[in-house]
C-alpha cells in the first residue's frame, strides 16, 4: 500500500501532471467554446492525488515545514478552486435607474451545480451614474450610485464603479462599459390597465449612432423607436456622461407614420396610446459569486510564505557562504545536486 502511495506521490507523476496541466492550459487559452473542461480538471485531479500522496509519503516534503506548508497550500488551492467552480455564479445584469434588483433579470448566467439561492436575498436599487471620458472618447472612471437597505427599514447610498464592486451576500456586482439610456414609456390600452416600462437602448456611447429598438404593444403592431440624444458628447475633449443632464427626443415609427415625441407627449396608436414619460438610464453589471475567494487568497499566500521560509532556511545562510567562497577565486566542487 505504501509503495502504491509512493508511486502516486512520485516526482515523476508530478512532472507528468504538470505537463498535462500545461497542455490543458494551452488548450484553454482564450476560453475556446470547443475545449472541454476536463482538459484542466483531469490534470488538476491527478496533481491533487499526487500532492496528497507526496505529502503523506515523501519525507523530503513532510519533514521540511516550509515545503510541507507550500504543498499543503497547493493542495488546498486545487480543492478550493474545485469547490469554487461547483458553487460559483457568473452573469450579466442590465438594471434601470430607479428600479430594484431582481434575480430574474440576470442574463448569460453560468453557475455551478451546487450554487445556492443566496441571490434572492440580494436587494438594492440602482441610482444614477456618471462616466468620465478623456479626449478621444477614452473611458475613465465610472461612479454608479446604488441604494441598499440599512437593516432598519431605510436605505443607504453607496457609490461603486470599475474596481470597486458592490458586494452583497457574497455576490459582487461590477460596473461595465455596457450602459446606456432607456425611455420610460406608458402604454394605455383602450381597454384594460395602463402599463409603464422602459426600453433599453443599445450601449452608449459605444453605439451612439444606433440608438434604436423595437417593441410591440399587447395586441398591437410592431413599433420601431429611435432615440435622438443630446448628452454633450465630445470627441476632442474630456467629457462627462451624466444621465441627469441628458435629454432625448423619441422618434416612433409605426408603419408608415413617423412621430417625434418629447417627454410627456403621447401618440395615438391602434388599440391604445403611447406616452413618452421621460428619459432615464440603465447600467450594465457583471455579477460574480464564488464563496472560496478569500480562502483561495489565504491558501495562496500561506503556500508562498511556506516556500519562502523553506528558501530562507535552506539557502539564506548558504548563499552567504557561497559569496565568501567565491571571493577567494576558488573553484568549489559540488555533487551537482542541490542540498
Amino acid at each position: 500500500m505504501k509503495k502504491f502511495l509512493r508511486a502516486l506521490g512520485s516526482i515523476r507523476l508530478a512532472l507528468v501532471g504538470m505537463v498535462l496541466l500545461g497542455v490543458g492550459a494551452a488548450l484553454s487559452y482564450d476560453n475556446p467554446a470547443g475545449t472541454p473542461v476536463w482538459v484542466l480538471v483531469a490534470p488538476l485531479a491527478l496533481l491533487a492525488i499526487n500532492l496528497f500522496c507526496a505529502i503523506a509519503t515523501n519525507p523530503r516534503i513532510n519533514r521540511r515545514p516550509g515545503l510541507l506548508v507550500f504543498h499543503l497550500g497547493l493542495f488546498a488551492i486545487i480543492v478550493l478552486a474545485g469547490i469554487g467552480r461547483l458553487t460559483h455564479l457568473d452573469g450579466q445584469l442590465e438594471i434601470t435607474e430607479g428600479s430594484a434588483f431582481s434575480p430574474d433579470e440576470l442574463t448569460e448566467v453560468k453557475k455551478g451545480p451546487f450554487h445556492g439561492d443566496g441571490l434572492s436575498k440580494v436587494a438594492f436599487i440602482q441610482g444614477s451614474y456618471t462616466v468620465e471620458y478623456n479626449a478621444g472618447m477614452v473611458r475613465g472612471l465610472t461612479h454608479s450610485q446604488v441604494l441598499i437597505p440599512d437593516g432598519r427599514g431605510g436605505m443607504i447610498s453607496r457609490v461603486v464603479g470599475d474596481d470597486r464592486p458592490l458586494v452583497l451576500e457574497g455576490y459582487r456586482f461590477y460596473t461595465t462599459y455596457n450602459k446606456g439610456f432607456a425611455p420610460v414609456l406608458t402604454w394605455m390600452p383602450d381597454q384594460g390597465e395602463a402599463m409603464t416600462g422602459t426600453i433599453h437602448m443599445p450601449s452608449y456611447p459605444l453605439f451612439d449612432y444606433k440608438q434604436d429598438s423595437n417593441w410591440t404593444p399587447p395586441g398591437g403592431k410592431p413599433l420601431r423607436f429611435w432615440l435622438r440624444l443630446d448628452t454633450g458628447l465630445r470627441q476632442d475633449a474630456a467629457w462627462l456622461l451624466d444621465g441627469k443632464k441628458a435629454s432625448g427626443v423619441l422618434v416612433v415609427n409605426a408603419g408608415e407614420r413617423r412621430v417625434e415625441l418629447l417627454p410627456g407627449q403621447s401618440l395615438r396608436l391602434e388599440g391604445g396610446s403611447l406616452r413618452y414619460e421621460r428619459l432615464t438610464s440603465w447600467m450594465g453589471y457583471k455579477v460574480f459569486y464564488d464563496p472560496t475567494l478569500h480562502w483561495l487568497f489565504v491558501a495562496s499566500v500561506v503556500a508562498i510564505m511556506g516556500l519562502g521560509a523553506h528558501f530562507w532556511r535552506k539557502f539564506g545562510v548558504r548563499m552567504q557562504r557561497t559569496h565568501e567562497s567565491s571571493i577567494t577565486d576558488t573553484p568549489v566542487a559540488s555533487s551537482g545536486r542541490m542540498p
Binding site: 516526482i11 504538470m18 476560453n31 475613465g140 464592486p165 567565491s326 571571493i327 577565486d329 576558488t330 551537482g336
Partner: protein, 302 residues
C-alpha cells in the same frame, strides 16, 4: 493629429532615457573588456591558489567591476529620472503602453541586477551575458514612439502596483539566473571559456543560478496571486485564461517543473542551464510578446 515631431517634442523624458541607455551600454563594453583582460591575472591566481592570498580589496572587487557597478547604477538613476519626468508629465505610472513598460523594465532589471552585482561577487562576470540582454530592451525602446496613453479605469488599483512590482522582481531574478546559465554554456566554448576562469566552478554557478530561479519562482507565484486579486477587483474574475494569464501560468509551470527536476534528479549542468534560459525566454515572450498576438493582453483592459 499628433505628428512624430510633436510627440518627440513633448517627451521630455527622452534625454534622460537616452543617457541611461548610454550608461548601460558603457557598462556592457567595460564588463566585456574587463573579463577579456582578466583571465591572465585570475588564472595565475588560481594556479597558485593554495598560496594566493588576495588583498582585502581584491577579495571583493576585480579591476573593472566597480566601474561597471557605477555605470549600471548611473543608468538606473537616469532611467528613474526619465520615469519620474514622464510620470509627472502624463499623470500616471508606467503601466499601459509598450514604451513605458519597456522603460520601467529597463529600470527594474538594472536596479535588481546592480544590487545583486554588488552583493554577490560570484555572479559579476555573468554581466557579460546579462547586460546585453538588458540592451535588447534598450534597442527596442528606442524604436518606439513615447506616445501618451490614458490610464484605464481598472488600473486605479493598489494591487496593480503589487502585481507589476512582483513581476519585475521575477524577471530580474530570471535575468540573473540566465546570466549565470549563460556563463556555464559559454565555458564550453574555447573562445569564451578564458573569460570566466576566475569565476567559481560550474557546479557552484549552477547551484547559485537555481537558487535565483527558486527565488524567481516565489516572486512569480506572488505576482500571480496579486494579479488574480487585481483581476477580481478590476474585471470581476480572478482568472480567465487570457493571453497574459495563460502565458504566465505556463511559465510558472515550466519553472516549477525545472525546479522539481533540478532538486530531485541529477540534471546535467548544460541541460540545467538551457532550462533556465528557456524559462527566461518564455518569461520574455510573456512580458513583451503578448502584445503581438493579443489585442488586449489582459481582457477588459480597455
Amino acid at each position: 493629429m499628433n505628428t512624430f515631431g510633436d510627440i518627440i517634442g513633448r517627451a521630455t523624458e527622452l534625454p534622460w532615457l537616452w543617457a541611461g541607455l548610454v550608461a548601460y551600454g558603457l557598462a556592457t563594453i567595460v564588463v566585456i573588456a574587463g573579463v577579456m583582460r582578466m583571465p591572465h591575472r585570475a588564472a595565475g591566481a588560481m594556479a597558485a591558489h593554495d598560496s594566493y592570498v588576495p588583498s582585502e580589496k581584491a577579495r571583493t572587487w576585480h579591476g573593472h567591476e566597480k566601474l561597471v557597478l557605477v555605470l549600471v547604477s548611473s543608468g538606473v538613476a537616469l532611467i528613474a529620472i526619465a520615469l519620474a519626468e514622464r510620470w509627472v508629465r502624463i499623470g500616471h505610472g508606467p503601466f499601459v503602453n509598450l514604451f513605458e513598460l519597456l522603460m520601467s523594465q529597463l529600470f527594474s532589471l538594472g536596479l535588481i541586477f546592480a544590487i545583486t552585482y554588488w552583493r554577490v561577487p560570484a555572479m559579476r562576470a555573468s554581466a557579460v551575458v546579462a547586460l546585453p540582454l538588458i540592451w535588447v530592451l534598450g534597442i527596442w525602446v528606442l524604436t518606439l514612439q513615447p506616445v501618451d496613453t490614458p490610464l484605464p479605469p481598472t488600473y486605479h488599483n493598489d494591487w496593480l502596483w503589487a502585481h507589476v512590482g512582483l513581476g519585475k522582481i521575477f524577471l530580474s531574478l530570471c535575468l540573473i539566473g540566465t546570466g549565470l546559465a549563460g556563463v556555464i554554456l559559454l565555458r564550453h566554448s574555447e573562445r569564451f571559456a578564458p573569460w570566466f576562469r576566475h569565476m567559481p566552478a560550474n557546479e557552484v554557478l549552477d547551484g547559485l543560478a537555481w537558487r535565483f530561479m527558486l527565488l524567481a519562482f516565489i516572486f512569480h507565484s506572488l505576482m500571480l496571486v496579486a494579479g488574480a486579486v487585481w483581476a477580481q477587483d478590476a474585471w470581476g474574475r480572478y482568472w480567465s485564461w487570457d493571453a497574459l494569464e495563460t502565458s504566465s501560468f505556463l511559465n510558472w509551470l515550466l519553472l516549477g517543473m525545472g525546479l522539481h527536476a533540478r532538486f530531485t534528479y541529477r540534471v546535467p549542468l548544460r541541460a540545467g542551464a538551457v532550462l533556465i534560459i528557456a524559462v527566461f525566454v518564455f518569461a520574455f515572450f510573456t512580458y513583451f510578446g503578448t502584445p503581438f498576438y493579443s489585442e488586449a493582453a489582459h481582457k477588459g483592459v480597455i
